[in-house]
Symmetry: C2
Subunit: 178 residues, 2 copies
């Protein structure tokens, strides 16, 4: 059974192998391993995120982004929208837009800042707090289902390698959200 003759089995995940193979043999690109690492990283992240969103959050009426905002507010709040934007990795405008329905649903609260008339503080309501405990419980169980194929040591190595991958982002002019 020749390896080149199995297009029918190709899917989102295994496409990485095809890419690696063709980039190596047909084009003279120098850094195939870099492509393989980052494609794998992206696709793993997408698969897990899509699964968590559709299994845990959508059924409860929340988007992935809403969850992220509630999550940082839960753990780092009360905080200003600007800081929530940094911690979630969204724009400030996105935080503002996402807040609206969450406030209307009674999960999130906005109160004027203490020392700055422009500022606002986001915090969870009592209901929001209880919701997060239940919600994160379900989220965390499913996270565990995903990660439990790896031993604890493997998980720590994975975290360590990803941390290392990211640490030199200062060494070149990284593009970040403003």
């Amino acid at each position: 059974m020749a390896d080149e003759e199995r297009p029918a089995e190709l899917d989102f995940w295994s496409f990485i192998e095809l890419a690696h193979h063709r980039l190596a043999t047909e084009y003279g690109f120098r850094h195939q391993l870099a492509t393989e690492v980052l494609l794998t990283l992206n696709r793993a992240s997408d698969l897990v995120t899509y699964d968590l969103e559709s299994a845990v959050h959508r059924p409860r009426g929340l988007s992935w982004s809403s969850f992220r905002l509630l999550f940082v507010t839960w753990l780092a709040g009360p905080l200003e929208p600007k800081r929530a934007a940094v911690l979630t990795g969204m724009s400030r405008a996105a935080v503002s837009n996402l807040s609206k329905p969450l406030v209307a649903d009674g999960l999130l609260e906005r109160s004027p800042g203490e020392h700055d008339g422009r500022s606002v503080l986001l915090s969870l309501t009592e209901h929001g707090h209880r919701t997060m405990e239940e919600l994160f419980g379900a989220h965390n169980e499913r996270e565990y289902q995903w990660t439990s194929v790896l031993s604890e040591t493997e998980q720590r190595i994975l975290v360590m390698l990803l941390n290392k991958l990211i640490t030199n982002r200062d060494q070149f002019d990284l593009r970040e959200r403003s």
Copy 2:
């Protein structure tokens, strides 16, 4: 210098530590390492993707998604929109929408399928092919900048661990795009 008193240094990346710490000490969640692994995975993927998109693809007038579609068409094409959707991880409708401007710009070509009157084949034009070689060159250089903090062995371990993380996705009722 107490660890609890450094909120000013907290950013998108280091938020993971705060989450880990609070989930461990203040809430009784069982699977903190799972959360740490998947938060790290997501944030690393988001950082790299955002950087590649804004440094390489946006300046050339392409979105990240457009690049993904061109990339799979380049390496696995000519192919049907349905297969392009599977390989990119988008919906068929997204492929249809994305194709339109790419065809208009002369990068992509649609031709009627051979054996099926409903079907269509997507392929790169000659211009699209040349564009991808230049574009992927730039993309690949920047990928290399990212990954070169890791040794070749570390990169292979990372790929292996991510592969392992994904392999048991069949063991529970994974949610995938239809």
